[in-house]
Symmetry: C2
Subunit: 543 residues, 2 copies
């Protein structure tokens, strides 16, 4: 049997677009002699459609899409994913279904049994888990059709009450299909491959794995679809961060050498962020981005990534020096813009700052310069950038990094403005690594930007290290707290100073109010701020 | 047996505070001769603790709290709620437990079986559902100890695979205890009473129901704990929006006439918002609020509610007229501030606006006045209010209503700034009703504020009705879409103009990016923007 795998970039709720994309791949597969073509989980709706799934109208549109795609399955079969109504009078309203389409109709349906409901996942919010399992017979083959998490049942510490493959294997399938929407994080591809290989080995079956690719707001899908033979050997691996389409003969699953191993962490983050920016703009039908270029490393790296994603001609950099900005900051920012051939303007915030201080003077009673005036500068920058955005239709890119977002080192409605946060899931120490990665062939980001001590430049001679521990210490503490969920005692026992640890954890917790108001953050780690980390604003833990 | 019910306001993660509060009620109950005192669901941790539950350190602190409370149960028993580790090597890491404490130790544990995982609820994210059920024997009584949703199994369309009471009833309990954290919405108390009465009647058992009270960021708990006799008659009903404590004799469950029926919708919203503001400030240890007072109805109602919550002496109103503000707006705002005896300043935004335009002029190439300049005014107001906030420690109250938030009729980083959104879950038509409710005894909010056509006053002669359908039409369309999840065809079939319906639904969907960056919104309806309504920013549904 010849099987095609279509790794595509869907768009949530764009039924026409998703249908066209799927049908076009069905035709391509048929033209190339495939018997079956496989698409990823919830391909018809896009993933995650979140609470759109609560609208009957949305599900009816999915149903209709499935029917119209089925009609195209003439002389070829297809597996597509779609939410569907749970027709049983029990349990959640919906099922997460894999439709096996053949002969112009729905031949069979397999429903997902294991519903991830952690981190960014909310599947048990919508979907009733399947409780019975049947292999699908097609031509001379018996197929175990599974959906993403269905293969993630773990034997040693089972999260779920059952293991779908243990049921399906009793029916002697010839191979496994797994359709997935498995989001990227820099350590996920490795883990995913291990799990899938483990399944192939355990059940002695070939496995065809089709993943989503592309960005859905903050959630990035890296693709990396796989074909694994019955010995558990990966015989082919799809492109990362790109659509891809390949065909295999089940009778002849030879090792194909165009494998595409996922790269190292920093390269993965780099590629993922570029896809994230690019898809955000494409899908929203925007072309042009603007950002504030400070001469610091965060806005520098953001600008380079945006230039790679959108093209340098679609960017506008605004330098917004204040009286506390150093000359080298402006020079470094100009050098970068010129290296990238990006249009830039230098606009002083002085007049607006002076007018603001004059307006406030009668009410501020000669109180000393403090955080109010510091934030005022950042907010005037936000105000000017948003004025450009509103006047010319630029989308403002937010340049805050994860370390800052964690400890609240940023001004709400100031440098925290923007439509999309590019680096909000990248710790400062990794931002430095990204800068060096970008510069590995030539100096694009001025070395001075990389080498000088980080500073917000909102008061004379300010340095980040006045308020925060060194980033290599801070980031390790944050990683232990945020990614690993370690408490203060554990982190102190790792050898960090107790006062610093307690201060950092407290800063993380009290600054939840700021993070609630930040733009969507492109998720590249296993625990990003945003939908995968849900915290009350009002709480007293570790304060 | 004498049973005390303690309806208390907990604070998430404030273990010391929650323990002290619980122990103090245990002592009070004991002094008053009670055999047993009942506290609400997850009383030890506060609810919803969200992802703090993922920290072992947090759960260990809960464990220790339970142990230290148990030690106080000498001569009296207590039921408290706490998360606990799932010691079974299967399923989710935690259980949502009710601890029955007596003789200085944990006598028995009942675990929650039905995990709400819809709207604001994420319980299946953390908790493994209980699968076996045992009544608790205490003194001469057999007790069916259940937790909140456990009594919400519905017979006609079961959401869950089992019904805990059907198991417990087999063991012949004498009465039911239900400990809850059932959040307020203006129609929830009625539904809750129906469900609880139905349980009492079905099983012919008395029911002691103890709910949370108080606000946890945006989630409001109204209390209204209940005692129901075995005929399903409500014999006592606790205070709404206040802590309360009462004692009953199980052998003598007479109808008590100090019942406290929940009020009508507008009064409920009014009372709930006041508690929401008040608790937000108390728990964060802030006293003073600031807001921009425009002369319009939203900021007027917000100021009145804040004055009731925080006291007029803790408020600062800033009037920020622009060249497009009408005289009556300023007069109406001044009249309100004076009616409430709230400190106010009138600060012109003109100088900053002119300086901003001058700064931008070289880049705006004489392009006509548009949304950029409109938003500039709103953002200058945000900037000035935040400067006051930073200089003096005021928390800025956001004054946007739900209708505006729905269709994106507001300026991000402008009038959408704030630490807490007071009216973000109240449709404009209900804001008018709130204003009339506030004025029912005397004219606090100037009638002119209530009667004039709503306007943002950001360009000459602007009215909301230039851009939006009349609010009585808009709000009905929004209610059908947001609360009832109806699609466009259904809403059009109700008799609304097709173009208006499609335009409104599109506005709701494309403005998700703004709502992602709004402050927490006090939840008073069954579907508020925020954690209970999760939507992708990038999507094409109904566009």
């Amino acid at each position: 049997m010849k099987i095609a795998l279509a790794q595509l970039n869907y768009f949530i709720g764009d039924f026409k677009g998703n249908i066209d994309k799927i049908i076009s791949s069905i035709k391509k597969a048929k033209n190339q002699g495939a018997d079956l073509v496989i698409f990823s989980e919830l391909s018809v709706s896009g993933y995650p459609a979140q609470d759109f799934l609560e609208f009957d109208d949305f599900i009816i549109k999915c149903d209709n899409a499935v029917k119209s795609i089925a009609k195209e399955c003439d002389g070829i079969a297809a597996v597509i994913g779609s939410p569907s109504f749970n027709k049983n009078n029990k349990g959640k309203r919906l099922l997460n279904s894999a439709f096996f389409l053949a002969d112009g109709k729905i031949l069979s349906i397999a429903n997902k049994a294991l519903m991830p409901n952690y981190d960014i996942f909310d599947e048990y919010r919508y979907f009733e888990p399947a409780k019975d399992f049947n292999i699908i017979k097609f031509k001379d083959k018996k197929i175990a059709l599974t959906i993403c998490e269905d293969l993630w049942a773990e034997d040693d510490r089972p999260l779920y009450p059952l293991n779908p493959m243990e049921e399906l294997i009793k029916q002697n399938p010839d191979f496994i299909i797994n359709i997935a929407a498995s989001p990227f994080s820099f350590n996920q591809a490795k883990k995913r491959k291990e799990i899938l290989v483990k399944n192939s080995k355990k059940y002695h079956l070939p496995l065809f794995y089709v993943n989503h690719v592309g960005a859905q707001t903050e959630i990035l899908f890296d693709g990396g679809s796989l074909v694994i033979n019955e010995q558990g050997k990966i015989i082919d691996e799809f492109e990362y961060f790109k659509e891809d389409f390949r065909i295999y003969d089940t009778n002849n699953l030879n090792d194909i050498s165009n494998k595409n191993n996922p790269a190292e962490k920093i390269q993965l983050i780099h590629d993922a962020l570029i896809m994230g920016i690019s898809n955000y703009f494409q899908k929203l039908n925007f072309k042009k981005a603007i950002l504030g270029l400070s001469g610091g490393i965060d806005s520098a790296v953001t600008l380079v990534l945006a230039a790679k994603a959108l093209g340098n001609k679609n960017l506008k950099a605004i330098l917004l020096p204040s009286e506390f900005s150093s000359d080298h900051s402006v020079n470094d920012a100009v050098a970068l813009a010129e290296n990238l051939n990006v249009d830039y303007n230098i606009i002083s915030i002085k007049d607006i700052y002076n007018a603001s201080n004059k307006t406030l003077k009668p009410y501020f009673n000669n109180l000393p310069f403090n955080i109010a005036e510091e934030n005022l500068q950042a907010r005037i920058r936000g105000l000017l950038l948003m004025a450009f955005s509103n006047k010319y239709g630029y989308i403002l890119l937010n340049t805050s990094n994860k370390s800052e977002a964690a400890v609240g080192y940023g001004t709400l409605y100031g440098d925290m403005c923007g439509g999309l946060s590019v680096l909000g899931d990248v710790y400062k120490t990794d931002v430095f690594k990204l800068a060096k990665f970008i510069n590995k062939e030539k100096e694009i980001i001025p070395n001075n930007t990389i080498n000088k001590p980080p500073s917000a430049e909102l008061r004379p001679n300010q340095k980040d290290s006045d308020s925060l521990p060194d980033y290599d210490i801070l980031d390790k503490i944050l990683y232990n707290y945020i990614e690993l969920h370690k408490g203060p005692e554990h982190i102190i026992n790792l050898g960090f100073d107790e006062n610093i640890v307690r201060k950092v954890l407290k800063l993380v917790n009290i600054n939840e109010y700021k993070r609630r108001q930040t733009p969507p953050i492109l998720r590249v780690s296993s625990k990003a701020f945003g939908m995968g980390r849900r915290m009350p604003v009002v709480a007293k833990y570790l304060l």
